[in-house]
Symmetry: C2
Subunit: 201 residues, 2 copies
C-alpha cells in the first residue's frame, strides 16, 4: 500500500475538525484545505481564539451561562428583572431566548435533562442550586423553558413538584402552532395541544 497522501499533522487536524457537530470526515478535509489557504486571516486567529476561550470561558457560578466573567454578563446586567428566573436545559437555549429577545429576567442553566434510562438524576443537574436561588425574596417567578420531549416534560414535572411554594409562581412556555406554521405540516400532538389550550381572541 502506498503512503497516505496526508501527513500526520494534517491528518490530526482533520480528525479533530471532524469531531465538530456539523462537520463530517469529508467536510473536515475541505475545512482543513480552506484553513491552510487562509493561514494569517483565519487559521492562526482560530488557534488563538480556541486556546484563549478554553482558558478564560467558564460556567457562571450563578446561572451556568458560559462567559469570561463570573458572574456572567447576563447576571450582572442591572437592567434585567431579577424577579423572574428562566430555566433552560443548556446554554444554547439561553442564547436562543436572548436572540428572540423573549426574556428580560435572569436564567438558570440545568446542564441537561433528567433521564432515568441514561442514569441522569437530579444530582447530576443544577436543580439543588435552582431551588436555593428561588428561596431568596427577590425571585417571584420561575419560567420552565425545556424541550417538549419526554425527558423535557419529565424534568419540568420534577421541577414543578420541587419548586412548589406559596410565594413562587411556576410557569412554562406555552405549546401550540409555531408563528408562520402551516397546520398541514404540524404533527397531531402539537395540533391537539393547541386546540386544548385554545384562547379567546
Amino acid at each position: 500500500m502506498p503512503a497516505s497522501p496526508i501527513g500526520p499533522e494534517l491528518q490530526r487536524l482533520i480528525d479533530l475538525l471532524a469531531k465538530l457537530p456539523g462537520l463530517g470526515p469529508r467536510s473536515a478535509k475541505r475545512a482543513a484545505l480552506y484553513l491552510l489557504k487562509k493561514r494569517e486571516p483565519v487559521m492562526q486567529p482560530l488557534a488563538f481564539a480556541l486556546s484563549d476561550a478554553a482558558d478564560k470561558v467558564t460556567g457562571c457560578s450563578e446561572c451556568g451561562n458560559w462567559d469570561s466573567i463570573d458572574p456572567c454578563a447576563v447576571c450582572v446586567d442591572e437592567e434585567r428583572d431579577r424577579s423572574v428566573l428562566c430555566v433552560v436545559e443548556d446554554v444554547s437555549g439561553l442564547w436562543a431566548l436572548e436572540r428572540a429577545g423573549a426574556h428580560k429576567g435572569l436564567y438558570h442553566v440545568l446542564g441537561g435533562l433528567l433521564s432515568p434510562l441514561d442514569g441522569v438524576g437530579p444530582d447530576d443537574l443544577t436543580i439543588g442550586r435552582l431551588i436555593e436561588r428561588t428561596k431568596t425574596d427577590e425571585v417571584k417567578e420561575v419560567v420552565i423553558a425545556l424541550a417538549a420531549t419526554v425527558d423535557g416534560q419529565t424534568t419540568a414535572h420534577y421541577l414543578m413538584e420541587h419548586l412548589e411554594s406559596a410565594d413562587l409562581r411556576v410557569t412554562r412556555l406555552s405549546q401550540g402552532v409555531p408563528v408562520g406554521g402551516e397546520l398541514d405540516y404540524l404533527d397531531e400532538g402539537t395540533l391537539a395541544a393547541a386546540m386544548k389550550t385554545r384562547r379567546p381572541v
Copy 2:
C-alpha cells in the same frame, strides 16, 4: 438594549468557526458549545493542531501537495510510477484520487483553473513548473484530471496545446455515466458524451 449574553472571547471564536466551509453562524455556535464541553479531549488539542499545522504544513516544491515534509510523502514514495503525472486543480482533487486508489503515479497541483473572467492567467497557476517537470526523460504521460466545467475544460485545452511534444502522451479522465448512476437522473450533456464515446463490450 441588554448586554449580549455571549462574551467577546466566545463571540470571536464563534465568528472564526463560522468562516469554515460547511459551518454557518448557527452551527458555529453549536460547535463552540460542544468545544467548551470537550476542552481537554478536543478544544485544546484542536488549538494545538491548528497552530502546529499552520507552522509545519507547506506546499510541496515538486507537486504542490500540502505536507509537513518537502518533497511531500507522495513525491518521495519509491513505489510510485514516476513516468505518469496527474494534473489536478487543487489538493482536494489529489486526495480524492488517492482515496479512490485511482492513480499510482505522481501529481501536479495547478493551484486553480484558468479563468479570463476572474483574471486568472497561466502565470497565476503552476503551469510553467508543470511544463518544466514534463521535460525530464522520466515523464512519459500527463493525465489531465480537471473538473468538467467551462474553466476546467479551458484549462485542459491550454495544457494540451502547451504540453504537445513527440515523446509525451497527454490524456484526460473519460467522461460518462457514473458507476451506480441511474440514466434517468443524469443530465443531457453527460448522456450525450457517454453515447458519443461508447465502447465495444
